[in-house]
Amino acid sequence: MTRATAEEVGHLLRELGPQVLGVLARRHADFASAEDAVQEALVAAATQWPSAGLPNNPRGWLFQVATRRLVDHTRSEVARRRRETTASELSHAERVDGDVAVAPDGDVAPEQDDTLVLLFMCCHPALTPASAIALTLRAVSGLSTAEIASAFLVPEATLAQRISRAKQTIAASATPFALPNAGERAARLRLVLHALYLTFSEGYTTSSGQSLQRTDLSSEAIRLTRTLQQLLPEDPEVGGLLALMLLTDARRAARTGEQGELIPLDEQDRSRWDPALIAEGVALVSKALSSGSIGPYQLQAAIAAVHDEAPNAAATDWPQILILYNLLRRMSDNPMVALNHAIAAAMVRGPQAGLDLLALLDTDPRIAAHYRLDAVRAHLWQMAGDTERAIQHYRAAAERTPSLPERDYLITKAAQLASERDSSPRG
């Protein structure tokens, strides 16, 4: 027995939980029950280890306890179906596992692939992205339901239900708990990358001064993507996504002011960007791009790298960014890409070139009424020197954005332009 504080136990359990789940789910082919059993084993460990000390083989202990819970559940489920459940069986199923005979470590050695299997499982095509992310954070990250709930600012009971429904959906989908076959693998990997990207974005767009006590989703997404990249080092899109996250996260300290207000890229204090993250991101994206198989995440990372490597906003290599957006547009029909492409065109060829491209988006129902179209249009009219139109579109964007920091940024831009207009001599 080794002594350990509750905090040390917490760290250890976060590391071991997903490993044990990977092995158990692979052996029993029932992801939902395995997940429940592992959660119960983790609770038992978190309760007992800080006072009783660590067992000699913590992973083996968890595996044994979780297996027993799984067997108990199966047994009690069978019993329930036979309507033979007795009080003694129930108390047996709920007894506290004090001392457990521990199997040799080799018996439950984690396989690297288990993390990959868990990621593939949690990002199941039958799930919505929100459910897939919640399940991934619980099963692969080992975050508690309360921590995930705090990250998404929803009540814990709601999040618990979301996870529970996700597990039922997977169970009902009748897909065996295994790596998808070669044909499905690429498609499933895209879902995994998309879920990780959304997790990162959720954390990044909400990381303002007011929300410090929230679970840091961006860091968690980076940690998971780093693990995935170690498992699949030759996949250029995995490397591209990790690079994109690092190159974006590098600017985190500079992107909000003291009151949590947004600071746009061209006004950020670049000395506050993280040079180590930039160096790592640039190295990753360079390696990925040299593989010859170019994908959207690599291109977005390459664009982020061009911004990050510019010593100041005026020195930004916009022609290079425009080339990268041209490539990205050929790969992706995403209207947000088209918006950014218009900005790059405006920076290279002047605001009218950008405005002409935006006009093409007015007929795209996916974005015609989106506040981002107004925000970009406002920016380009401002570049073109048409203050009235710029104010009008900044205000239209402010009315529609669901993001409070963005709303404040947009009304402030409009107010600044109106204030300059009113104080400058007319004529």
Binding site: G209, Q259, G260, E399, D408, I411, T412, A414, S419
Partner: protein, 131 residues
């Protein structure tokens, strides 16, 4: 005891009132909310807080004959709209009123307190277990 504090904002002629403010007035206004919210959070009194998007896309929805949604709106002539709300957990109604008064003092044009009307309503408790 839990209280819901609702803040209404003027919509007026179809433009938000805040659109007519100067940049430094907007900044002081936002800083005031940040500071009040931090105070409530630090005091352990804040249960929930939400700011709502503007009324531009607001709809009234009723079920039609087939149970499917029938939407009504937008309402450009609306004079006031719900801008956001707090739910606070406090020891007394007086404390809830004090918080509402503080919110009411948020600075507006010229840095002057706006004396916003804040509607305060007590949240119903869960029923007792043994009735």
């Amino acid at each position: 005891m839990k209280y819901l504090l609702m803040m209404n904002a003027k919509f007026g002629t179809g433009e938000w009132d805040i659109f007519k403010w100067r940049p430094e007035e907007i900044k002081a206004h936002v800083a005031y909310w940040n500071s009040l919210n931090a105070e409530l959070r630090d005091a352990g009194e804040l249960v929930a807080i939400e700011a709502l998007t503007g009324p531009a896309e607001a709809k009234l929805v009723r079920a039609g004959k087939d149970g499917l949604p029938v939407t009504d709106g937008v309402f450009p002539e609306t004079k006031e709209f719900l801008a956001g709300y707090w739910i606070v957990d406090v020891d007394s109604a007086e404390r809830a009123y004090a918080i509402a008064a503080k919110a009411s003092l948020a600075p507006g044009p010229g840095g002057k307190p706006m004396i916003l009307p804040i509607e305060v309503r007590q949240v119903m408790q869960s029923p007792a277990r043994d009735v």
